[in-house]
C-alpha cells in the first residue's frame, strides 16, 4: 500500500525549500551591485523586482510551512529536485524582464541551462546585454555548479542532520570532509580560490589580447565561472571564438579540466598528496577516454580534410573535444560548422565524449569517469572468471583516494546510472526526430542537454518547438540531479494521487 504524504511531509519540504529560495534571492544582490556600478538603471530594477518576488516567495513558504522536525530521506530528495525547479522559475525572472528572451519559456530554458551548467542558450542580441544580466547568467552557473543546496548549506543552514539528505539528492554522494556542511564550505573555498586565480589569469590574457581592462576582468570572471563549473555560457555571442586567442584557449582548457576533477581529489592535491592524480581511477580513465575520443574526432576531420593544417586540426578538434568531454560546451567554431564541415565520424567522437563526462563530485554532468572505470574493471573481472580455472579467486581492485576491492553492488549501481543516462540521451534524440531533425543531429543535441554540456549543432534556437524546449529542460534537470531525486519526486506525486 502506498502511503499518502501527510501535512508534516509537505511542511518539511516547504520550510527548507523556502530557506533555499531565500538564499537564492540574496545572491541577486551581486547583479544589483554590478548594475548600480555600471549605471544600468533598468537592469538594476529587473533584479530588485526579481529579488523582491523571490524573497517574498521564500518568506511565505518558511512562515506557512514552519516546522522544527528534521528531514527524512524522501523529503531531502524532493527538496533537492524541487529547489532546482524553483530556482529555474525564479532565476528566469530577471532574464525575462530584460527583454532579451522571446518568451518566459526561453528565459526558463536559459535559467535551467545555467543552473544545470549546460550552456545551451536561447538569448537574443547577447552582444547588447547589460553587465548585470550577463553576470547573472554566469553567476547561476557558479551557483548551480557547486549545487543550489550547497549554497544554502554553506551560508544559510547552521547544521542539522537532514543536510546530508539534501546534499545526496543533488547528486553529490561523496563527502570530502566528515561533516557535510564542512564539505560544502570546502567546495566553496576551492571554487573561490580558483575564481580569484582564474579571473586574474584570464583578465591578464584579455589585456594582452587588446581588450579594455574593465572588460578583460569582467569577461575573465564570467568565463572562469562558466569554465570551472563546466557551464559554457560566454559574455559574447561568438562564445570563445570572440577572443581569437590561443592563450585564452589554453587557459580555458586548463580551467575546464580543473572543473572536471573530483573535489575530493582537489582536497588531496591541496593537502600535498599530488601522486593521487596519477593513481586515481577517475583521472586515468579521463585521460584514456580523452585520447580515444580525440583519435576518433581527428580521424573524422582528417578524412574530410576539414582543417588544412595539423595545428588547426589540433586547436579546433582538441578544444571542442575537451569542452565536450568536461561538459563545458565552450566553442571556437560556429554551431553549424559541426554539421556542415565536421562529418559524422567526428560528431560521433564528440557525442561519445559528451556522454561520458568528467568526475563524480565535480561540476560536470553525464555518466562520469568513476562509473566508466568501475564498469570496465567489472568487465575485466568477469573475463578473468571465464578464462581462469574455476577454483581461482578473482578480486578486482581499483584506486580512488584509497585502494578498494570492487564489489558487485558498486558495478550494479554504476551500470544502473549509465543505463539511465543512455535512456535519457535516446529519449531526447527520439523527440528531436519526431520534430523532423536528422538522427545524428538530434542525438548530438540531446546528449549535450542531458549530459549538461552545451555544445550545439544548431538545433537549439528560439524557433525550435516548445515541446522540444521542454524536453531539453527536463533532460538538463534530470541529468544534473542524476535521477534519484527526480524518481523520488515522481514517486511522491504518484503517492499523493494514488496513496491512502
Amino acid at each position: 500500500m502506498i502511503r499518502k504524504p501527510n501535512i508534516e511531509d509537505i511542511k518539511g519540504i516547504g520550510y527548507y525549500l523556502g530557506k533555499i529560495i531565500i538564499g537564492l534571492s540574496l545572491t541577486m544582490v551581486i547583479p544589483i551591485i554590478i548594475g548600480i556600478a555600471f549605471g544600468e538603471i533598468n537592469p538594476t530594477l529587473d533584479f530588485i523586482i526579481s529579488m523582491g518576488i523571490t524573497l517574498l516567495f521564500g518568506l511565505l513558504l518558511t512562515k506557512l510551512c514552519f516546522t522544527e522536525k528534521d528531514l527524512n530521506w524522501m523529503q531531502g530528495m524532493i527538496i533537492a529536485s524541487l529547489s532546482w525547479i524553483a530556482a529555474t522559475l525564479l532565476g528566469a525572472l530577471p532574464l525575462y524582464l530584460s527583454g532579451h528572451w522571446n518568451s518566459f519559456l526561453d528565459a526558463c530554458f536559459d535559467a535551467m541551462s545555467g543552473f544545470a551548467t549546460t550552456g545551451l542558450t536561447l538569448v537574443q542580441n547577447l552582444d547588447h546585454l547589460s553587465y548585470a544580466h550577463n553576470l547573472w547568467r554566469h553567476l547561476i552557473m557558479f551557483i548551480g555548479g557547486q549545487g543550489i543546496v550547497i549554497v544554502a548549506l554553506s551560508f544559510f543552514v547552521k547544521g542539522f542532520s537532514g543536510a546530508f539528505k539534501m546534499y545526496v539528492g543533488e547528486a553529490r554522494d561523496e563527502r570530502v570532509l566528515p561533516n557535510v556542511i564542512d564539505t560544502a564550505r570546502f567546495i566553496w573555498l576551492v571554487s573561490i580560490a580558483y575564481l580569484i586565480l582564474g579571473t586574474l589569469a584570464l583578465g591578464m590574457v584579455g589585456i594582452l589580447n587588446g581588450m579594455k581592462t574593465i572588460n578583460a576582468f569582467f569577461h575573465g570572471a564570467c568565463v572562469f565561472m562558466a569554465a570551472f563549473d563546466t557551464g559554457g555560457f560566454a559574455p559574447q555571442s561568438q562564445n570563445i571564438l570572440y577572443y581569437h586567442s590561443l592563450p585564452y584557449e589554453i587557459v580555458t582548457i586548463t580551467i575546464m579540466l580543473l572543473g572536471a576533477i573530483n573535489f575530493k581529489l582537489h582536497y588531496h592535491i591541496w593537502m600535498g598528496n599530488r601522486k593521487e592524480i596519477l593513481k586515481n581511477i577517475e583521472t586515468i580513465t579521463l585521460f584514456m577516454s580523452i585520447m580515444l575520443t580525440f583519435f576518433i574526432v581527428a580521424v573524422g576531420l582528417v578524412k574530410l580534410g576539414t582543417y588544412p593544417q595539423a595545428i588547426a586540426l589540433f586547436r579546433k578538434g582538441f578544444y571542442q573535444l575537451v569542452s565536450g568531454h568536461t561538459g563545458t560546451g565552450y566553442m571556437t567554431i560556429y554551431a553549424r560548422q559541426f554539421i556542415n564541415e565536421w562529418g559524422d565520424l567526428a560528431l560521433v567522437g564528440i557525442i561519445i565524449a559528451m556522454g561520458l563526462g568528467g568526475s563524480v563530485c565535480s561540476t560536470t554532468g553525464a555518466i562520469k569517469m568513476l562509473r566508466v572505470g568501475i564498469i570496465f574493471k567489472a568487465l575485466i573481472e568477469d573475463l578473468k572468471k571465464i578464462i581462469l580455472p574455476e577454483q581461482a579467486i578473482v578480486a578486482q581492485k581499483f584506486h580512488h583516494i584509497k585502494d578498494m576491492f570492487m564489489e558487485d553492488k558498486q558495478a550494479r549501481a554504476a551500470l544502473f546510472i549509465t543505463l539511465a543516462y543512455l535512456a535519457l540521451y535516446g529519449f531526447g534524440a527520439i523527440v528531436g526526430m519526431l520534430f523532423g531533425y536528422p538522427f545524428l543531429h538530434s542525438l548530438f543535441e540531446s546528449t549535450s542537454a542531458a549530459a549538461n554540456v552545451g555544445l550545439s549543432c544548431g538545433i537549439t534556437d528560439t524557433t525550435m518547438p516548445a515541446a522540444l524546449k521542454l524536453t531539453y529542460i527536463f533532460q538538463m534537470w534530470a541529468g544534473r540531479l542524476e535521477f534519484m531525486s527526480v524518481f523520488t519526486l515522481i514517486g511522491f506525486l504518484v503517492a499523493a494521487v494514488k496513496g491512502k
Binding site: 533598468n42 552582444d127 547588447h128 547589460s130 559574447q236 571564438l241 560556429y334
Partner: protein, 171 residues
C-alpha cells in the same frame, strides 16, 4: 582582302583587350562577391566562399583588439558575429562599439573570407582589405521604465510590512 598592318595591330590589341576584360569578369564572378553576404550564408556555404573576396556588412560589437599592426574587429549582422582581421590604420573611423550602452558603428567590410584560416589556427574569419563606415553608432538612450519602478515600490512595501509584522510578533 588586304588589311593594313596598323589596322591589324589595332584589331589584335582590341581582341587582346576583350580577352582581358572577359577574363576579368570571369575572375570577378568566381572570386569576388560585390553584393554583401550575410553571416548565415557565409557559415552555411563556407566551402563555396573560402578564399573569395566578400563584402560583409554589420555592427561592430565588443572590444576592438589591437594585435601589433593589425586588429580584430568583431562584426555582427544581426544573426552572427564574424571576426574581421584588419590593418589598424583602416579602423580609425570606428568610434562606437556595440554594447548595452552603445549602438555600434555599422561598417561594410570587403576582404578575403577564410573557412579555416591558416594564419589563425583554423578560425572562420575575414581578412579585410577595406572598411567603410555605413551608419555611425551612438550612445543608446536608456529610458527609466516607470512600470518597473512602481513594481519595485510595491514589492519593497510588501517586504517592509512582513518585516514589521515579524518584529511585532517577536515582541
Amino acid at each position: 582582302m588586304i588589311v593594313n598592318p596598323k589596322t591589324k595591330l589595332k584589331m589584335r590589341n582590341f581582341g587582346f583587350c576583350c580577352v582581358i576584360l572577359l577574363f576579368g569578369f570571369w575572375i570577378l564572378n568566381f572570386n569576388c562577391y560585390a553584393q554583401s553576404i550575410s553571416s548565415a550564408e557565409l557559415i552555411d556555404n563556407a566551402k563555396q566562399f573560402d578564399g573569395k573576396t566578400v563584402v560583409y556588412i554589420g555592427e561592430v560589437i565588443g572590444d576592438i583588439m589591437i594585435r601589433g599592426e593589425y586588429a580584430w574587429v568583431n562584426v555582427n549582422d544581426g544573426k552572427n558575429a564574424i571576426g574581421v582581421w584588419i590593418n589598424k590604420d583602416l579602423i580609425k573611423d570606428i568610434h562606437y562599439m556595440g554594447s548595452y550602452k552603445f549602438k555600434g558603428d555599422v561598417v561594410e567590410v570587403s576582404g578575403t573570407f577564410n573557412r579555416a584560416c591558416l594564419q589563425h589556427g583554423g578560425d572562420l574569419d575575414i581578412h579585410a582589405q577595406s572598411l567603410t563606415k555605413r551608419i555611425a553608432g551612438r550612445p543608446a538612450q536608456e529610458m527609466p521604465n516607470f512600470k518597473k519602478r512602481n513594481i519595485v515600490i510595491l514589492l519593497l512595501g510588501a517586504l517592509g510590512l512582513i518585516w514589521i509584522l515579524t518584529l511585532l510578533k517577536r515582541r
